[in-house]
C-alpha cells in the first residue's frame, strides 16, 4: 500500500485537528493555521489525484478497525480526487481574497471561531466527497450545514441572522428528507456501504421487489439534496445567505457548499441506486424540468435584482439549474457536463463574489448599481476580474463557461430526442439573459462618473493576498477554457470508475 493512499484520510483528520487546535488561539494564529492546513490539503489532494491517475483505478480505504460490510470506508477515485483538489484550491483563494473583510466584519474575539468553522467545513466537504458510507455521508452533510450556518451568522448583523435562520430551516428540511430516505434505503437493502447496498439494489431490481418504496426513496433523496443545493424553487434562502455574510463565506457557500450536495447526489445515483434504475424511475425528467425552469427564472430574478450580490446569488440559482439539467439529460455525457460545470461554476462564482467585494469597497461600501458606476477605474484589478468572470458565465470562448455550455449542448443531442430542443432553446435563452445582466453590470462599472476624462473617487489597492487570489482564479478560468480536454477526460474516467 502506497503512502499517498493515506492522504485523503489525513486531509480530513488534519482539518478536524486544526479546528480543535484553533479553539484557544488568537484570530491571527488561527488564520495562519487554517491557511497552512488548506494549502496542505490542496497539495495532498493533488498528490492523490496524481496517484489515482497513475494507477488508473479507484481504491477504498478502511476507517477504523472493522472491515466491510460493517466498518466505515472512504473511497478514492479520479472524480473524488479532482473535486477535492478544485474545492481545496477554491477554498484557499476564497479565504485569501476575503481575508481583510473577515477581520473587519467579525468581532475580534470571534475570529478564531470563524476559522474553526472553516476547518470544519473543509473537513466535512472532503468527507462528503470521499465517503463510501451512506450514514457517514448524512452526518457530514449535517456538519456541513452547521458550519455553513455558522459562517453566515458570525457577522452578527440582523440581516445575517435572519439569513442564517432561513438557510438553516431549508437545510434541515432537506437533511430530514435525506435522512428518512437513507433509513428506508437501509431498510430495504440492509447495507450502508455503497458497494454492498448497490449489490442488494441490483438483486432487488432484478427480482422486481419493493418497486414503490424504491421510487419513494429515490424521490425523497433527490428532493432532499436538491433543496439543500438550492435548486429552483427551493432557492429562496440563497440571495440573503450569499448577500449578507462576509465575502469569504459567500464565496465558499455559493461555490463549494451547495455543489458538494450535488456531488453526493451523483455519487449515490451511480454507486448505490444505479444509474439505470434512476433513469427508469423518471426522477431525472423531474430534475431536468426544474433545472430548465431554474435556468430561466434565476436569470430573470438576477436581471431584476437591484444590488450586485443578489444579482450574483440569483445567477447561482440559474447555474445550479444548468447542473441539474445536465444530470436530467440522463446520459453519461450530460453527467460529465454537469460535473464540469460544477468545477467551472466553483471557480467563476468565487471570482465574481471576490471581485464584486473589491468593487463594493471602491464605492463606499454601497452595493446598489448606481453607486458602482465607474468602480472598475477605482479598483482596476477587481474590475478586470469581474469582467473575466462575467464573460466566462456568459460563455465567451477561451473561458471556462463556454466549454461547459458546449458540453451541455453536445450532450443534449445524445440524449432523449424529446429533450434536445428544450435544452438547446433554454440554453440559448438563458445565455442571452446572462449576457443582459452580466454585461450590463460590466459596462456600468466601466462607465466613469462625472465629466468624461475627470477622475472621481479614490483608488483602492487590494491586499496582496486578495490580488493573488483574483489572479489565480482568473488564470484557472483560462486554463479550464483552453485546456479543457484533459479535465473532461478525467471526469469521464471518473464516472466510469463509479459504475
Amino acid at each position: 500500500m502506497s503512502f499517498v493512499q493515506n492522504f485523503p484520510c489525513f486531509s480530513i483528520v488534519l482539518c478536524m485537528v486544526a479546528g480543535i487546535l484553533s479553539t484557544p488561539m488568537k484570530g491571527k494564529q488561527a488564520k495562519n493555521l487554517t491557511l497552512v492546513v488548506v494549502t496542505l490539503v490542496a497539495l495532498m489532494s493533488i498528490a492523490t489525484l496524481g496517484y489515482v491517475i497513475g494507477t488508473g483505478e479507484s481504491y477504498t480505504y478502511m476507517m477504523g478497525r472493522f472491515p466491510a460490510p460493517w466498518g466505515n470506508e472512504i473511497r478514492v477515485g479520479i472524480l473524488e480526487a479532482l473535486t477535492a483538489t478544485v474545492f481545496a484550491l477554491v477554498m484557499l483563494f476564497s479565504l485569501l481574497g476575503g481575508m481583510d473583510h473577515v477581520f473587519k466584519d467579525i468581532n475580534e474575539s470571534k475570529i478564531n471561531l470563524y476559522f474553526i468553522l472553516v476547518d470544519l467545513l473543509l473537513s466535512s466537504l472532503l468527507a462528503i466527497i470521499y465517503t463510501n458510507d451512506l450514514f457517514t455521508g448524512y452526518v457530514f452533510v449535517e456538519i456541513n450545514t452547521i458550519a455553513a450556518c455558522g459562517m453566515i451568522m458570525i457577522r452578527e448583523s440582523g440581516r445575517s441572522l435572519i439569513a442564517a435562520t432561513r438557510y438553516m430551516v431549508m437545510s434541515l428540511i432537506g437533511s430530514g428528507l435525506f435522512l428518512i430516505s437513507l433509513a428506508m434505503l437501509y431498510d430495504i437493502t440492509g447495507h450502508l456501504l455503497m458497494e454492498d447496498a448497490h449489490e442488494a439494489m441490483i438483486r432487488l431490481t432484478q427480482s422486481g421487489q419493493y418497486e414503490i418504496p424504491l421510487l419513494v426513496i429515490i424521490s425523497l433523496l433527490t428532493v432532499g439534496l436538491a433543496i439543500k443545493s438550492g435548486l429552483y424553487p427551493f432557492h429562496s434562502w440563497m440571495p440573503d445567505a450569499y448577500g449578507y455574510s462576509t465575502i469569504s463565506s459567500s464565496s465558499i457557500l455559493s461555490s463549494l457548499v451547495s455543489k458538494s450536495y450535488i456531488i453526493l447526489l451523483i455519487k449515490i445515483f451511480y454507486r448505490v441506486i444505479g444509474f439505470d434504475t434512476i433513469i427508469t424511475s423518471k426522477i431525472v425528467n423531474v430534475l431536468f424540468v426544474f433545472g430548465l425552469i431554474g435556468m430561466i427564472m434565476g436569470s430573470v430574478s438576477a436581471i431584476m435584482a437591484k444590488d450586485i450580490y443578489k444579482m450574483i446569488a440569483y445567477s447561482s440559482v440559474a447555474q445550479i439549474g444548468y447542473v441539474y439539467m445536465g444530470i436530467g439529460l440522463a446520459t453519461e455525457a450530460g453527467m460529465a457536463a454537469a460535473i464540469f460545470h460544477i468545477l467551472t461554476h466553483a471557480i467563476t462564482k468565487s471570482l465574481l463574489f471576490l471581485s464584486a467585494k473589491g468593487l463594493n469597497d471602491a464605492s463606499g461600501r454601497k452595493r446598489v448599481y448606481p453607486a458602482l458606476q465607474g468602480a472598475a477605474f477605482r479598483n482596476p484589478l477587481a474590475g478586470a476580474a469581474f469582467a473575466v468572470g462575467s464573460l466566462s458565465m456568459v460563455g465567451i470562448p477561451m473561458l471556462a463557461g463556454f466549454i461547459s455550455k458546449i458540453l451541455f449542448a453536445t450532450s443534449a443531442l445524445g440524449s432523449d430526442p424529446k429533450k434536445v430542443l428544450p435544452t438547446l432553446i433554454v440554453l440559448s435563452v438563458s445565455t442571452i439573459l446572462n449576457a443582459v445582466y452580466f454585461l450590463h453590470t460590466v459596462v456600468r462599472i466601466y462607465t466613469p462618473v462625472g465629466e468624461p476624462g475627470e477622475f472621481k473617487g479614490v483608488r483602492i489597492h487590494m491586499a496582496v493576498g486578495a490580488a493573488a487570489a483574483l489572479f489565480c482564479l482568473i488564470a484557472l478560468n483560462f486554463v479550464l477554457g483552453l485546456y479543457s480536454q484533459p479535465i473532461t477526460d478525467l471526469i469521464q474516467q471518473g464516472i466510469q470508475m463509479f459504475a
Partner: protein, 493 residues
C-alpha cells in the same frame, strides 16, 4: 511553420501594441512620437498581412480547445479579400484619426482599442471553422464596444449597450446553430460549396433549415439586417468619426463574411436553394434595402443619414448572397468592396466637417463646399459612386445584382429585386446628392463675403483622397477585379 509565426505576429502585434497604449494612457509626452509609433504598427501589420495573402492557401489548427473543437485558421480568396480591405481601411482610418482625435478626450484609449480590434479582425478574417468564427466575432463585439461609447456621455453609453445587446443576442442565435451543426457532424471546417448535403451529416432537414435561418439572422445583426438593424443608426453617430467609418465600412461587413462562411462554406448553396429560408432571407434583405433608404432620406443628422444608408447598402450585399448564383455573389462581393471604400470615405468627410466646423445637421452644411472644397469634392464623387451612375463602381455591382436577381427565375422575386434596387438607388441619390448641392450651391442668401478656407490638413485629406481615387478607379477599370470575384463565386457554388 513560418506561416503560423507570421500569422501570430500579424494578429498579436496590433493587440499587444494596443494593450501597451492602454497601460501607458496619458504618459506619452510627445504626440508626434505616439502617432509615428501607431503608424509604424499599422504599416508593419499591413506588410505582414500582405505577406500572408501572398503565401498561398493554407489551413492549420492554431489551438485545440477540446479534442473536437479547434481554433482553425484558413487562407483562401475570401480571406484575402476581407483581410486586404480590413487592413487598408484600418490604416487609412488610423491616419485620419491622428488629426481627428485631437479634439476628443482620451485618445490613447481610443487608439489602444482601435489596434486591438484590428488584431481581432485579422484573426476573424482567418477563421477556418464555425467556432473560431464565433470566438473572434464575440471578441470583435467586445473590443469594438469601447470605440462606440468612446466619449462616455449618457447617450453614448446607452448606444453602446444597445450595440452590445443586439450583437450578443445575434451571436447567440448563431451559437445555437453552431451547437446544432456541430453535434450532427458539421461545422468543424469550411469547405467550398458546403457539405450539409453529404450523407455524413445527420441533422434533420427541417431543423437544419431553421438553425441556418437563425444563423443568418444572428450574424445578420452585425450587418444591420432587418429586424435586427436597430443598433446601427444609434451606435454609429455617437462614435468618433473614424470609428464610425470603420464600424460602417468593416465591422458590419464581418457579419457578411460570417454569413458567406455559413451559407457557402458550410451549408452549401444547393442545400438552401428554393427553400423557405432563401425566400425569407431575400424578403428581409429587400425590406432592409428599401427601409434603410427611406429612413436615410428622412434623416436630418448627417452621420445618422450615413448610418441608415449603411443599413440599406449592406443589405444589397446580403441580397446578392441570398440569390445563390454566380452573378449575385459577384455583385455582393464587389458591392462589399465598393461600399466599404465609399462609406469609409463618407464618414471621414463627415468627420472632417465636424472637426473643422462642428456642424452635424444637413441643413447647416450650406456653402460648406466653398469652405472645404476638397473634402466636399471627395464626398460628392463617392456619393455619385454609391448612387450607381455609370461608369462608377456602384453601377457595376448593382448591374451584377440585378442580373443575378433576374437569373434566379423565382416568381415575383426575380422582378421585385431589380425594382427595389432601382427605387433604393433613386432614394440614395435623394439623400446624398442634396448634401453636395447644398454644399456647393448655397443659394442667393448665402453671404460669400464670410467664406473662410477651412480645409483640413493632409493627415485628413490623404485618406479621403485615397478612398475617393479607389472608388473611381474601381468604377472605370473593374475588369480584372470582377474576373477575380467571378473566380471566387465559381468555386463556392
Amino acid at each position: 511553420m513560418t506561416v503560423a509565426y507570421l500569422l501570430g505576429a500579424a494578429i498579436l502585434l496590433p493587440i499587444l501594441a494596443g494593450f501597451l497604449l492602454l497601460f501607458t494612457q496619458g504618459k506619452w509626452k510627445n504626440r508626434t512620437v505616439k502617432c509615428l509609433f501607431l503608424f509604424l504598427v499599422f504599416v508593419i501589420t499591413t506588410i505582414f498581412s500582405v505577406k500572408l495573402m501572398l503565401v498561398g492557401d493554407y489551413q492549420f489548427p492554431l489551438w485545440k480547445l477540446t479534442d473536437t473543437l479547434e481554433v482553425l485558421v484558413r487562407m483562401d480568396h475570401l480571406t484575402r479579400l476581407f483581410l486586404g480591405m480590413t487592413v487598408a481601411a484600418w490604416t487609412l482610418g488610423g491616419v485620419f484619426a491622428f488629426e481627428y482625435m485631437k479634439h476628443e478626450q482620451k485618445e490613447d484609449r481610443y487608439f489602444g482599442f482601435y489596434l486591438i480590434v484590428l488584431g481581432v479582425l485579422i484573426a476573424l478574417d482567418h477563421a477556418g471553422n464555425l467556432v473560431t468564427l464565433y470566438l473572434f466575432f464575440e471578441l470583435m463585439t467586445l473590443t469594438s464596444l469601447p470605440l462606440v461609447l468612446h466619449n462616455l456621455s449618457h447617450e453614448a453609453v446607452m448606444a453602446g449597450l444597445k450595440y452590445l445587446f443586439y450583437s450578443v443576442a445575434g451571436a447567440f442565435a448563431a451559437l445555437f446553430g453552431i451547437f446544432y451543426l456541430y453535434s450532427h457532424g458539421a461545422g468543424s471546417m469550411f469547405a467550398e460549396g458546403g457539405y450539409l448535403a453529404d450523407i455524413s451529416y445527420t441533422g434533420s432537414q427541417g431543423m437544419t433549415l431553421l438553425v441556418l435561418f437563425l444563423m443568418i439572422l444572428g450574424f445578420g445583426t452585425k450587418a444591420g439586417m432587418f429586424p435586427m438593424h436597430g443598433w446601427l443608426p444609434t451606435a454609429h453617430p455617437v462614435a468618433p468619426a473614424p470609428a464610425s467609418a470603420v464600424l460602417s465600412g468593416i465591422i458590419t461587413k464581418s457579419g457578411v463574411l460570417a454569413i458567406i462562411r455559413v451559407v457557402f462554406y458550410t451549408a452549401g448553396a444547393d442545400y438552401l436553394r428554393g427553400t423557405w429560408v432563401q425566400y425569407a432571407w431575400m424578403t428581409l434583405t429587400l425590406i432592409t434595402v428599401f427601409m434603410g433608404s427611406m429612413m436615410a432620406y428622412k434623416e436630418q443628422v448627417l452621420k445618422k443619414r450615413l448610418a441608415y444608408s449603411t443599413v440599406s447598402q449592406v443589405s444589397y450585399i446580403l441580397f446578392g448572397l441570398s440569390l445563390l448564383n454566380v452573378s449575385g455573389i459577384v455583385g455582393a462581393l464587389s458591392h462589399f468592396v465598393f461600399h466599404s471604400v465609399v462609406k469609409n470615405c463618407l464618414f471621414l468627410c463627415a468627420g472632417a466637417v465636424i472637426y473643422k466646423t462642428g456642424k452635424t445637421m444637413v441643413k447647416d452644411l450650406k456653402g460648406i463646399g466653398k469652405e472645404m472644397p476638397i473634402t466636399m469634392w471627395c464626398f460628392t464623387l463617392v456619393s455619385v459612386t454609391l448612387v450607381g451612375i455609370p461608369p462608377t463602381s456602384g453601377f457595376v455591382s448593382k448591374w451584377y445584382l440585378a442580373t443575378g436577381s433576374l437569373e434566379t427565375g423565382m416568381t415575383g422575386y426575380a422582378w421585385a429585386g431589380p425594382i427595389i434596387l432601382l427605387l433604393s438607388a433613386m432614394l440614395t441619390a435623394g439623400y446624398l446628392l442634396p448634401v453636395s448641392i447644398l454644399a456647393f450651391f448655397p443659394g442667393h442668401q448665402y453671404d460669400y463675403e464670410q467664406v473662410q478656407k477651412r480645409e483640413p490638413n493632409l493627415l485628413m485629406l490623404v485618406p479621403m483622397g485615397l478612398f475617393t481615387i479607389a472608388a473611381v478607379v474601381f468604377g472605370i477599370f473593374p475588369g480584372t477585379f470582377m474576373n477575380y470575384l467571378q473566380k471566387i463565386a465559381m468555386t463556392v457554388l
